[in-house]
């Protein structure tokens, strides 16, 4: 047990910190989301710089253009990014989900075709899993995938797809056969978002912004070469995608929470320094942040030893989302009536936005209810609730 950086880790952190201090464009500090064309152009450029400096695909094998580093470097990278309040690479879905899935299940020609452009942000990916009728119950997806001659035809609707409005490709899970066991008969495809019949409609969320989208597929032709895994074997491929989502996800969340707690502390110092109740609640959030951080380190040690993310990923997501909701609400309570004002760049508008956005945290990427089911059934071994 040693919680300090080793010499190589310390050197990596030092280099990265200096690089971030020099390179993060002013317009991207305190980043709040990729909305608007200007931000998008900045984002592509930023992602390209990250890739050129060797910070994209840190844990990817070298043969696929990654840095082949152990997981801890991804953790260090996410910590330093949070410290600098710099945005992640624009292609998070490609880097964290599509890429690792292609590495695990793809053919050599697929690896050659897609992986390099994920790293360089030349191609942005989105995820087509959830549907209006299939949220938590993913295996019930109804988007139809039919093999017709030398291509698949896709019909259906996907929803809650981040980045779909800017994406070049989509990882899609659809139904190719009706079977008694619903986990069978699913097929996993790579869909070109520029294909005829693909329509993206932004979903306006309670913050007023549109980070998510609906995607409509109408007789979209997908070449047979875009199949990932087997026809009818899509569930297994999808599980790879989702387990990678949990890999070092906790570090990204703790990083975001670190920034939020820092801002909360500054806000409380400025506006509520003597209020004992506020002080107690701020201290609680600080403790929760440390708990999350060190739980991540424990998860990391286990991931490096076994290669498989443990249940701590669910723990981190569950607690982070609830902490972020509590914390942002505390901030708008401290601000008071002024937090009702939506415009401007100051603290009131920032926290108002963060607080509203946080309501999505307990829903996106696994609702809190599903995460509690996962913990109850897979970790504690309790009987299935369904």
């Amino acid at each position: 047990m040693d919680l300090r950086d080793g010499p190589e880790e310390a050197a990596f952190r030092r280099t990265l910190r200096a690089w971030l201090e020099a390179k993060v464009p002013a317009g991207l500090r305190g980043f709040r989301g990729w909305s608007g064309p200007a931000a998008l152009a900045l984002g592509r450029d930023w992602s390209k710089r990250l890739a050129e400096a060797g910070y994209a695909g840190l844990t990817w094998p070298k043969e696929y253009g990654g840095a082949g580093r152990p997981w801890r470097y991804q953790a260090l990278y996410l910590e330093e990014l949070a410290r600098a309040e710099a945005p992640q690479h624009l292609g998070v879905i490609g880097l964290g989900m599509a890429g690792p899935t292609i590495i695990a299940h793809g053919r050599p020609d697929q690896k050659a075709r897609y992986l390099a452009k994920i790293l360089s942000a030349e191609e942005i990916w989105c995820q087509g899993f959830s549907e209006p009728g299939s949220g938590s119950d993913l295996a019930s997806v109804r988007t139809r995938v039919e093999l017709v001659g030398d291509h698949f035809v896709v019909n259906g609707q996907k929803v809650w797809s981040s980045y779909a409005h800017i994406a070049d490709r989509c990882i899609l899970l659809g139904r190719s056969a009706t079977t008694d066991e619903k986990h069978e008969g699913l097929t996993y495809l790579i869909v070109d978002m520029k294909s005829p019949g693909v329509e993206v409609r932004p979903l306006r969320q309670i913050t007023g912004e549109a980070e998510f989208n609906e995607i409509f597929f109408t007789d979209v032709e997908v070449p047979k070469a875009n199949l990932l895994g087997e026809v009818g074997g899509g569930w297994r491929v999808a599980m790879t995608t989702l387990s990678h989502e949990r890999g070092t996800f906790g570090f990204a969340l703790a990083g975001a929470l670190d920034v939020a707690v820092r801002k909360l502390v500054a806000l409380a110092r400025e506006r509520a320094g003597a209020d004992a109740l506020v002080r107690d609640r701020v201290a609680r959030e600080w403790i929760d942040l440390q708990a999350l951080r060190y739980t991540n380190y424990r998860a990391l040690a286990r991931l490096e030893r076994t290669g498989v993310p443990g249940p701590e990923g669910s723990v981190a997501k569950l607690r982070w989302s609830e902490a972020n909701q509590r914390l942002t609400k505390l901030a708008i309570e401290i601000i008071g009536r002024e937090a009702q004002v939506a415009d401007g760049d100051g603290a009131p508008a920032y926290w108002r936005h963060q607080q509203l956005r946080s309501r999505g945290n307990t829903i996106e990427a696994g609702t809190s209810e599903i995460l509690r089911n996962i913990i109850a059934e897979r970790v504690l071994g309790l009987p299935r609730s369904r």
Partner: protein, 361 residues
């Protein structure tokens, strides 16, 4: 960066758990708690033989030469087994001061010597214990209230006010002096007592200002040790709740299939894991004398104690009426959790300290 235990440390945990499970099955808890001392004295030489009482004492002095991380493993497992005996008092509370008396360290390691910390800090009156020089000896006068395990130990480490300020003294118990009155406390497995010194003989362990440093180190160790114990308590309460939820059937299904039950247990799991992370962090900080040790110990104790209380409360609820009975062992875990929460101040007081550190003012 490696937040995991070594194979040797894992082995220590396995050994501790299997020894304690055999020696202290749940069925024995009531017998021990209601015995005259509330302690199975015969266990102490065995703990010493296992190397636990001298875990962090140097090998030259008969110990194992390990660190607080290893002691932390023992604390967690003792909490899990609800061990009753002066391990917390001797190893967490007294040991830092006993470091000034090398002759005693070997006795602690061999199991021949137990001690506790008799601080007047918990006195309602706020009065101190006074130390007066008498030739080459010292005489103590005053009272220390709510002292853990005072009825069990051979000696008391006492922070007392001497001519130059607060020093640390050692008063050994001879002929029923100092006077110890064991109180009727909620947790019968870790009793509290009032200790009254009436010109009782003592030796000086540390004069001011060195004593202040030792007192601060003692406090950090105690808080971290309690956090680790709390993790043990919480994980045992969780295990009991899960076991019951799997086997108890109502409406034709195990009650653990109902989310109103399973989600409570999932929450306990989450809080126990977070408490564990904080407690291991604190243990490492103390072993390494890290600059964050004080904050880490405060945070870990505040969080883990509350998590243990909540874990027991949820487990009692999951057990239904049975969990509310005297015969079921859960209330003994619950009472230990409440003891931990109350000792050296509640979570709110620690959060106030943390707020002071991060917010100033």
């Amino acid at each position: 960066m490696d937040f995991s235990f070594s194979p040797e440390q894992d082995q220590l945990r396995t050994q501790a758990r299997s020894f304690l499970e055999k020696r202290y099955p749940l069925a024995r808890l009531a017998e021990i708690a209601t015995s005259a001392d509330g302690w199975d004295r015969a266990s102490w030489p065995e703990l010493a033989r296992l190397g636990w009482t001298g875990a962090s004492i140097s090998e030259a002095q008969g110990g194992a030469g390990l660190s607080f991380v290893e002691e932390g493993i023992v604390f967690e497992e003792l909490g899990r087994a609800l061990y009753a005996g002066p391990y917390f008092s001797t190893v967490a509370l007294a040991l830092p001061a006993l470091g000034c008396a090398p002759d005693l360290l070997a006795k602690v390691a061999s199991g021949a010597f137990t001690a506790t910390f008799a601080s007047p800090a918990a006195n309602a009156s706020g009065a101190a214990v006074d130390g007066r020089r008498d030739g080459d000896r010292w005489l103590l006068r005053g009272e220390a209230d709510l002292v853990p395990d005072a009825g069990l130990v051979e000696a008391f480490v006492v922070p007392a006010r001497g001519p130059d300020g607060i020093g640390l003294y050692l008063a050994e118990r001879r002929d029923a002096r100092p006077l110890v009155r064991v109180l009727d406390t909620v947790d019968a497995t870790r009793r509290l007592a009032r200790v009254t010194f009436e010109d009782d003989d003592a030796r000086l362990l540390a004069a001011p200002p060195a004593a202040a440093k030792i007192i601060a180190a003692t406090r950090r160790r105690a808080l971290a040790a309690l956090a680790l114990e709390a993790v043990g308590v919480a994980s045992r309460a969780l295990a009991l709740g899960v076991e019951h939820a799997k086997s108890r059937e109502q409406f034709g299904r195990p009650i653990g299939a109902y989310q109103a039950v399973s989600h409570k247990l999932a929450d306990t799991y989450v809080e126990t894991e977070l408490a564990r992370s904080l407690a291991y962090w604190a243990a490492w900080c103390i072993a390494e004398d890290d600059g964050e040790a004080e904050l880490a110990a405060s945070a870990a104790k505040a969080y883990a104690a509350e998590a243990a209380v909540a874990a027991c409360e949820r487990a009692i609820q999951v057990h239904g009426g049975m969990g509310f009975t005297w015969d079921h062992p859960l209330h003994r875990y619950y009472k230990r959790a409440l003891w931990i929460e109350s000792f050296d101040r509640s979570g709110a007081a620690h959060r106030a300290d943390i707020a002071q550190a991060i917010l100033g003012g």
